[in-house]
Structure formats: C-alpha cells, structure tokens
C-alpha cells in the first residue's frame, strides 16, 4: 500500500469508527441532580442524559446515598457533590463513573469548631474554584484537581467586611464573570432567628483572591434592593447578572420584612443594580415570594413563585423588561418546586419535589414536554460534559459562567 493509499485508508477507518461508535454528539452533556428524601432522612444524586438516544434518556438514580443536606456543582466532565451542614465535605465524581468517588475532602481547617456549611463551588477554570462556606466568614479557593488533600485548599478570601453583626455574611451562591466572582450574601442574623438583613454581593478578584471594593457604598460590596438572595446567574449574551431574592420566609421573620424580595439585575461592569421583578408587598404579592430563577436566553427567563408550603408555581419573565407571564406549565402548578436550571438542550429543567421528577419545559410553549423520575426529590440540577466532549463550565450559578447553553438553546 502506498503512503497515499495508507493515509486514505487511515482517514476512512477513523471516519468509519466515528460513524459507528461516535454516537455521543459533540458537546453532549449529562444532568447531575442532587436529590433528597421528602423527610430529609437521606440524599443521593441522579444523572440524566440531556440528549435522548433512540427516544430514551439514560437515567441513574439513588447514586452514592448520603445525608440530605447536599448540593452539586459541575465543571467539564467532573461534578462535585457538596455535603453541607455538619458534614463539611466535597466529593468529586467523573461523569462516566457517577457512583464512584474520585476523592472526598473536608472543607474545614483543622481545629475549626463550627460547621463551615459549604454551599457551592464557583469555578474560575479547571484548576481554580471558590468554595462558598455559608457558616464562615472566609471562602476557600480550592484546586478541583489536586494531587492529594493537602493540595485541595489553595487560599481563602475573607468576606467578613460584608458580614452583619454576627460576623458571618452567609455566602449562598456565586457566578464568574471574566476574572471576577460575584458572591451573593444573605447576611442573616444568627442571633435572631436567621432574619435576613440587607443583602450584598461581594466581588472577588478571581486571580488575586481578594475582595474588590466596587465603590458603591461605604461597605466593600454591592447592596441589593431585595433581601435573602437565593440564586445567581450570569447571562453573557446581555452581560447581566440575575439574582432571585426570596425575602424572609413568610411567617419566619418580622412581618414588615415580608415580600422584600424580587429579581435583581446587576451590570457587572458598572455594578448598577435594578429591581427587575418586585415580589410585591403584604397586601399584593401576585407570585408569592421568588425563590429561584433560570434565564434561558436574553428573551426568556423563569422563576418560581413560592405561594405556600408545597404550593409553588412557575412564571416566565422577560429578562430585559421584567414583564411576567403566568403561571405557566399547568402541570407544575401548586407543586413543591425546588430548583430550576437552563438546560443545554434549550429546555428549562424544573425540579419537582412533589412528584420526585425533573420536568422539561419547552420555552416555546411554556409547557412540560417530558418528565423524568429522579428517585428522591430533586434539589439542584447542574450539567456536566460527557467524557468525550470538550470541557466547559456548567451554566448553573454555582458553577460559574459560560455561554454554551444559550447557543444550544437558540439552535433548537
């Protein structure tokens, strides 16, 4: 065989191999769902293939059972399960072996006596992430790919300048925008029933690991016009950060603070804030409180309106004007809706904790087009790259920025 023939044969063989075995589309992802028992007696995680094959999604549930107070984050082909209050650890899994821990490390320094209550990981790149610790004043910079446990913690950033009187700022989520990490701070008063105070966003220099003073107020942070931020998401298409603020849980705080939440936007360049959607007041609160959001595109976002225990609804909103539509998705009305995520497939992924399902909502029709059983109740949804995909960060707020999902969404 001549060299030219050999080259041709080789290329043909490679192409043939790819045609036969390369059934996973480039950029394919798998959803990783943190799941919890209805009575919080246990937890686990589940995986759901984003792209069905032959009309079937590959689903695995009840993986690596553990406690219920967990969340997940993802970057590339890895995902990280974070066990929170009193457990204080992070476990790394690879998406092609989702039940087998790659490693598990503590999120407490030796000698720390109160739980750090890790809440999430915000990724800068494959070697650097910010570990949010709800129970502490300092967040950790960690290496998600350490050689050993000693290499896991690589630094920390002190957010105590933005803490309330109890000294703990209650960091609850974050998003990476360029070389900055925006961290939402609930600033709950631990000495008085965890009443959320004036909320702030801390801006952290991702490379230097220091707190940036945005110069908005005397405090080195961005004050929010709503309380108790729950979820943050950066949308690169319109260069805007969206934050869902719940306000105090109604009935668990002073009545005058009820319905002091809403959806807040931040311009990451000017730090200007805007109350895009107001949750109303004690007399008029058409959606209840706003407990979660997901923005699928600059034209379409969703939030959960929390009406009462187990009685939540899904609303659509315009991420630019703030105009609200809904409730939408009739089959999800009056359910215990736990979480939202913008799926790489262009659908909204909704965690339905009444029926232990993830529901996929088509933004074109605002209706549920598919449901997937998750075993236990879904609490958090993130997306990891499949093993043969190019690494990319998850779109979820805890996983930092990225733009892949919007391109996919628009392509549908």
């Amino acid at each position: 065989m001549s060299a030219r023939s050999f080259r041709f044969a080789s290329i043909a063989a490679i192409l043939g191999f790819a045609l036969v075995f390369g059934t996973v589309p480039a950029g394919a992802k798998t959803a990783v769902v943190a799941t919890t028992a209805a009575d919080f007696s246990s937890g686990a995680h589940a995986t759901i293939a984003v792209e069905p094959e032959n009309g079937q999604r590959a689903v695995q549930t009840d993986l690596a059972p553990t406690i219920s107070d967990i969340t997940v984050a993802a970057f590339g082909t890895s995902f990280y399960r974070i066990e929170r209050f009193m457990a204080d650890n992070v476990t790394k899994f690879e998406i092609d072996a989702p039940a087998t821990p790659a490693w598990q490390y503590s999120t407490l320094d030796a000698g720390e006596t109160v739980s750090g209550n890790p809440y999430g990981m915000v990724f800068v790149d494959e070697n650097r992430a910010l570990l949010l610790r709800f129970g502490k004043a300092a967040a950790w910079f960690v290496d998600p790919t350490p050689a050993d446990e000693a290499g896991f913690k690589i630094g920390e950033v002190d957010l105590s300048p933005l803490a309330d009187a109890d000294g703990v700022p209650e960091m609850a989520g974050g998003a990476t925008v360029g070389d900055r990490i925006f961290v939402i701070l609930q600033r709950q008063d631990r000495d008085a029933g965890f009443i959320p105070g004036e909320a702030y966003v801390a801006v952290v220099d991702a490379a230097a690991g220091t707190l940036i003073d945005p110069g908005v107020t005397a405090a080195p942070g961005i004050p929010l016009p709503a309380r108790n931020p729950q979820r943050i998401q950066y949308v690169p298409e319109n260069d805007t950060i969206y934050i869902a603020c719940n306000g105090p849980f109604v009935g668990f705080g002073p009545p005058e603070l009820d319905y002091t939440g809403g959806i807040v936007t931040i311009n990451p360049n000017t730090f200007e804030t805007n109350l895009l959607v107001d949750d109303g007041d004690a007399d008029n609160h058409p959606y209840g409180t706003i407990s979660n959001l997901a923005v699928l595109s600059p034209e379409k976002g969703y939030f959960i309106g929390f009406n009462d225990f187990g009685d939540n609804n899904l609303y659509a909103f315009d991420p630019v004007t703030g105009a609200v539509t809904g409730p939408v998705a009739p089959s999800l009305q009056a359910k215990n809706l736990a979480t939202l995520a913008a799926g790489p497939d262009g659908f909204l992924w909704v965690g339905n904790a009444t029926d232990a399902q993830v529901a996929l909502v088509d933004p074109a029709t605002d209706t549920v087009v598919e449901t997937v059983d998750t075993g236990l109740n879904p609490a958090r949804i993130v997306f990891a790259d499949d093993a043969d995909s190019a690494p990319s960060p998850d779109e979820d707020g805890s996983g930092g920025g990225g733009s892949g999902c919007f391109l996919n969404a628009l392509a549908r």
């Binding site: 919890t36 028992a37 209805a38 009575d39 919080f40 007696s41 246990s42 686990a44 009840d62 059972p65 553990t66 406690i67 209050f85 009193m86 457990a87 204080d88 650890n89 476990t91 821990p101 490693w103 598990q104 490390y105 503590s106 407490l108 000698g111 720390e112 006596t113 109160v114 739980s115 446990e149 631990r190 000495d191 008085a192 029933g193 965890f194 009443i195 719940n246 849980f249 668990f252 705080g253 002073p254 407990s291 979660n292 959960i304 929390f306 225990f309 187990g310 939540n312 215990n336 736990a338 979480t339 965690g351 904790a353 029926d355 232990a356 059983d373 075993g375 236990l376 109740n377 609490a379």
Partner: protein
C-alpha cells in the same frame, strides 16, 4: 434496594406458622410432667421472672390475668449489673432501643416496630409521654429505684389508662419491705463510669417508708473510629476518644405510706431527677461545649380503699414537672446559636375502681390531666410560647371468666378527649403570635382472650384500636423552621396478635423446667404522621403515610440439672411503609431491625453465677428511602457474679468483640465496656 431482595423471612406466612406451632403443640400432648403453680418460670410471651411479683395493689396490672403479651423484668435481673434502662429492655423479644451514644445518652424504645413516640412510658402508672412531642428519653431514668419493668406489646392494659398505638412500658418503682432493709451499691467501670446508690426501706406499725438515692457519672470518652465526616476518604480517618459526651445524674426517690386498718392505705411518693449531659457533635469536634440539663420532679398522692362494699378503689393525684435547658450558645450542634428552656408541667388525677360481680371482674377508670408546655429563648430575644392540653380519659373493662376460669375474655373500651391550645405569645421576632385551639376525641375498643387449652398450654390473642394524638410540635410547629398543621389527623392503629405459651416441669436430658412461647402480630397504622420538607428546608407534619407491621416473636427457657439455665428469644418483623411518597412506598420503616435474636446461658455454682449472651440484629435502615443501611450487628456479653453472705460482687463485660455500631447515623456507640459492681444488703425483721 428492592424489597424482594431480602432474605427469607418467616413472616411470609406468620399466621400459618403459628397454626402449625399450635397444632404440633397440641398433637404432641403435654410434656412428661404438668406445670405447677410454683413454677419458678412464669410464662408469658418472653418472660423470665425469677421471683414472684410484689404484693399487688388496687390499680396494678395483674399480668397473670392479662391476655397481653407482656414481660415483667424483676429487679433481681439488673440490680447488680447494668444501670442502663434501655439495655435491660432491649434483651426482650419485640423490643428495640436506639441510642445516640454511651451510657446516659439519649435513647428511645420501640415495641414491635412502633416508633418511640407511639410507645407510652409510665412511671408507676403515671404517663411520661409529653404532649410537646417525641418519645420518652430512656436516658433520663435510673434503675436504682426500679422494682420491675413491665412491657406490654401491642395492647395497653386498661389499668394504665392512656394508650397509644405502640404498646407501653411501665417502670414500677420499689415499695417498702416488711421490717427494715438497707442496700448500698458501688460501681466502677470503663470510661471512668462511677456510681453510688443506696436504698433504705422499713415498716413500723401502720407506717412504712422508702428512700432511694443514686449518683452516677461517666466520662463516656470511649474510643471510636472518626471518619472526619468523609466516609469516602479513609486517609483522614483516626481513632479518637469521644469528646463532650460526659454526664452525671442524681436520682432520689422517697415514699411514705400509712395503712388504716386492713382496707385503706395512703401513699405519698416523690422522685427527683437531675442530669447534666454534655452533647458531642457529629464530627467529634474538640472544643464542643453543647450541654443539656434535665430536671424532673414527680409527686403522687395515692389513696386505696379495698373492699368498700364490693368495690376496690384507688384515687390518685399527681404532678410532674420536667425541665430541659439546651445550651448551644456557640452554635456548635444546631444551626445558629441557641439556648432554650423547655418546661412541661402535668398535673391531675384519676380514679380507678374494680368490682367482682357474677364471678367476673369489672374495672373502670377516669383520668383527668392538664399539661402545659413552655418554651423560652434564653438568649434574650424574648421569644416564648405556651401550649396546653387537657385530657379526659375514661375506660371500662372486664375480665370475664368462663369454663372454670380456663377461658378469660377481656373486653374494654377507652374514650379520650383532648383540648389543645397554643396560647398567644411572642415569637422569635418579637411579634405577637396568634393563639390557636382545637379539640379531638377518640374511642378505642379492645378485646383479649386467654385460653388454657391444657395444663401446660395457653393460647392468647388480642385485638384493639389505638390512637396517637398529634404532638404540639406536629400540630403547632412551635420550634424552629417548622410549620404547624392544624388539619393533622391523629394516627390510628388496629393491633392484632395471637400466640401460645407452654411450660412444663421435668423432661428428658436433665431438663427440670421450661417454657416456650410464640406470637404473631399484625399492626395496621393509618394516617401515620410524617415530616415533610419543602425546598426552603421548612418542615411540616403531614398524614401521608400508612404502615403495616407484622411479625413473629419466639422465646424459650429451660432449666437443666439444677445449675444451668438457657433462655433465648427471636423477633422477625416487617415494618412496611405504605406511603404516598413513591420513594418510601413499600420500604421498611427506618430504625427497626428486621431480624434479631438473643441466647443466654447462666450457670450457678457455690455462690458464683457465670453468664454469657450472644445477640444478633440484622437488616435496619437509617432512612425512610432505605438507601442508608445500618451494619448488621452481633454482640457478646459475659459476666461473673459472686454472692457471699450479704455481699454481691459482679463483673460484667459488654460488646466483648469491641465492635463499633451506630443506632443513629453518625453517632457511634461504645465498644467493649467492663463494669464492676459491689452491693451490700442488710435486712432486719420487725
């Protein structure tokens, strides 16, 4: 894990098995000698009673007449051995005790797969379960003043007044002896456990009295393997001593009584209990300072009048006060800083009467109690709340004798009316909290049958309907991020059991006496109250579950060659959750073992008693979805006791293999423990 994966269980055909057992027993005829009334082994389902019970007083349960599958554990079985109430109870069939740690720590009892808050616990017939919720913490009781422990599975005798869906345990305290007696006990053992106890008892003329006091303390710093909260990372595991688990407690019981002629008697009883308990955190963190102080004061005045015409009557007024102060001001265990005081006051009285009429025994009971529950935040937020419950219980029952007393029927009917009120108060945010009130009533019929099929064989069966009223916490959500549910229904259960007991004197191979028993049980619990949480982590009690618990209990005991005794029991149960929640449906209720068995051998020789025990418990889940499996466990215990005149020395070792287990996920239990006990008795006739 699928239910079908489980190993073979005799529960697949429990009724059939029982039928076969009965048939075999009857067809095989009586053993070589008939049982006699003086049999040192008094046969109940799983009973070994070494000595006859104390003199029965009006209002006491007469276990001999009761068809319930009950066990009476006399003081002699534990006085020189353990100080742990749960440890005594859990050796009986159908009983499980779960502990959060070592001696003195929180522990709760389950009978036949019921949850601890479904099991009623009484102290001398006074109800200890509180309307505020949760089961009774067995770690707040001393054995030093206990005369006997009575276990009633499935069915609660009418004499005890209140009943619930999970059976009952009655802690019967000492009563004064004739003449004068005194005893002192000293104890020392592992983890610097040390205790002193003394009892004085006397009777002079019409007066009698008793004073008992105990102080017990332990460092509880047992060694265990701490996984540092990272079970998938063995690299950071380390052997550590348990931190901040020490406790000390003091228990004092005083009784004074006077008889008026032969028919009337007045008793005044007071018990004081204090416990200072430190609480370790989940990760065994150095520097943990969390603490729980418990105080209980209980006073009862009782008047009995026998043979007043045809009636025997008992009147009782009682007051109990339990106060707990939880101090986690550093926020080391709970979420946030907490320092709270919870106080329950309960007072009221009851009237019990019984009459023999037409050859049958009829009983009636009327009980009225008021209970108040106060919660105070001691961190200065001003939050406080008070809840009240008034309970009226009435019951009538009969013990009907037929066929020359070979057949006993015990029909009964209870009525209970509850008035619940959450008083208006101040919430954590210094806001006025609205009051609420409601009332509820229930009828609970029950019937029992006891038939002496042969001199050596007794058949028993019981059927009853029971109710558990929701607790304040479940109904009002008066603590933490928990919502009240005023629409919550009471749990209701239909409990059925049937079984046989056989006993005999003499037999082959040197067997001198023996007994054996078998019982099947089937409990259907509806409107089971479960806790559900929403996405915020806020909880609420809801009626979403049902449960079906069926099982089989077996027990035996033989006395061989005058010096050897062998006893054992086994429990097989299927506590099936029939929940509306898909991930719970068909799963086992958490915290219950599916199979457990225990064998014990005890030998006497010249004042020495040597004993050994081997127990196994298998198939338990920590969680409702059955994803977290508890380790199967086996435990070997052994001891040597020496009686010399009035002195008894006892050396006892438990968990001799030094295995590490957890009843609650993440809360290790001690490994091998050894205790040395010395007891001196002094008695003087009048």
């Amino acid at each position: 894990m699928a239910i079908t994966d489980r190993k073979f269980s005799p529960l697949n055909r429990p009724i059939s098995i029982l039928a076969v057992l009965i048939s075999l027993a009857v067809l095989s005829g009586p053993p070589t000698a008939r049982a006699q009334a003086s049999d040192p082994y008094r046969m109940d389902a799983v009973v070994v009673t070494a000595e006859p019970p104390e003199e029965r007083r009006t209002g006491d349960v007469d276990a001999k007449l009761s068809p319930t599958f009950n066990t009476v554990i006399p003081r002699e079985q534990f006085v020189t051995r353990t100080t742990d109430l749960g440890e005594v109870l859990e050796k009986e069939a159908g009983v499980e005790v779960r502990r959060s740690g070592g001696l003195g720590g929180f522990s709760e009892v389950s009978l036949r797969g019921a949850s601890s808050d479904q099991v009623m616990v009484f102290l001398d017939g006074i109800l200890l379960n509180e309307a505020s919720g949760g089961g009774v913490d067995l770690g707040t009781f001393s054995l030093s003043d206990v005369a006997a422990l009575e276990i009633y599975r499935g069915v609660t005798p009418m004499n005890l007044g209140n009943a619930s869906v999970g059976g009952a345990v009655n802690i019967r305290t000492l009563r004064p002896d004739d003449g004068f007696s005194a005893a002192a006990t000293g104890r020392y053992g592992s983890f610097d456990t040390r205790g002193l106890a003394a009892v004085l008892s006397g009777r002079k003329g019409h007066w009698d009295g008793l004073l008992s006091a105990e102080h017990l303390a332990s460092d509880n710093d047992f060694e265990f393997l701490n996984d540092n909260g990272t079970p998938f990372n063995p690299g950071d595991d380390r052997e550590e001593d348990r931190i901040n688990a020490d406790f000390d407690r003091t228990n004092v019981l005083g009784k004074i009584g006077r008889t008026f002629g032969e028919r009337y008697r007045l008793d005044l009883v007071h018990q004081s209990f204090f416990k200072d308990q430190n609480l370790p955190d989940w990760r065994n963190t150095p520097g943990t300072r969390t603490n729980l102080d418990t105080e209980r004061q209980l006073t009862a005045l009782r008047f009995t009048a026998d043979r007043v015409g045809p009636f025997n009557l008992a009147f009782q007024g009682d007051h109990s006060r339990r106060s707990e102060e939880y101090d986690d001001r550093l926020g080391q265990i709970g979420l946030g800083r907490q320092r709270n005081r919870y106080t329950t006051n309960r007072y009221g009285g009851h009237v019990f009467g019984e009459v023999f009429w037409g050859g049958h025994l009829f009983t009636a009971l009327l009980d009225l109690h008021r209970e108040t529950y106060d919660s105070d935040d001691l961190l200065g937020t001003g939050a406080e709340s008070q809840s009240d419950r008034d309970t009226l219980s009435a019951g009538i029952g009969a013990t009907l004798f037929f066929l020359g007393e070979r057949l006993i029927l015990t029909p009964g009917l209870r009525y209970a009316h509850f008035w619940n009120e959450l008083d208006a108060g101040t919430d954590l945010f210094d806001q006025p909290a609205e009051g609420r009130s409601d009332d509820d009533d229930h009828f609970s019929p029950q019937i029992g049958l006891k038939y002496q099929a042969a001199n050596w064989l007794t058949v028993k069966s019981n059927l009853g309907r029971y109710v558990r009223e929701p607790s304040f916490f479940e109904r009002y959500g008066d603590r933490g991020f928990f919502l009240g549910n005023p629409d919550l229904e009471a749990e209701t259960a239909v409990n059925f059991d049937a079984g046989l007991e056989a006993r005999w004197q003499a037999g082959p191979a040197g067997v001198q006496s023996g007994w054996a028993g078998a019982a099947v049980f089937y409990n259907q619990v509806d409107d089971l109250i479960a806790r559900s949480f929403d996405a915020r982590g806020v909880g609420k009690a809801v009626n979403i579950d049902e449960a079906r618990i069926q099982g089989l209990e077996l027990s035996f005991g033989v006395s061989v060659l005058d010096w050897l005794r062998l006893t054992g029991n086994a429990t097989f149960q299927e506590p099936e959750n029939r929940s509306e929640v898909a991930s719970f449906e068909g799963k086992h209720l958490p915290g219950r073992f599916e199979r457990s068995w225990l064998v014990r051998a005890e030998a006497d020789w010249q004042g020495f008693t040597l004993f050994g025990e081997y127990g196994v418990q298998e198939d338990m889940y920590y969680d409702t979805a059955n994803l977290l499996t508890a380790a199967d466990r086996e435990e070997v215990n052994a001891g040597l006791e020496w009686d010399w005149r009035d002195l008894t020395l006892s050396l006892e070792g438990r968990n001799l293999q030094d295995n590490q287990y957890e009843d609650f996920n993440g809360f290790p239990l001690p490994g091998r423990t050894v205790y040395l006990t010395a007891r001196y008795r002094f008695e003087m006739e009048n």
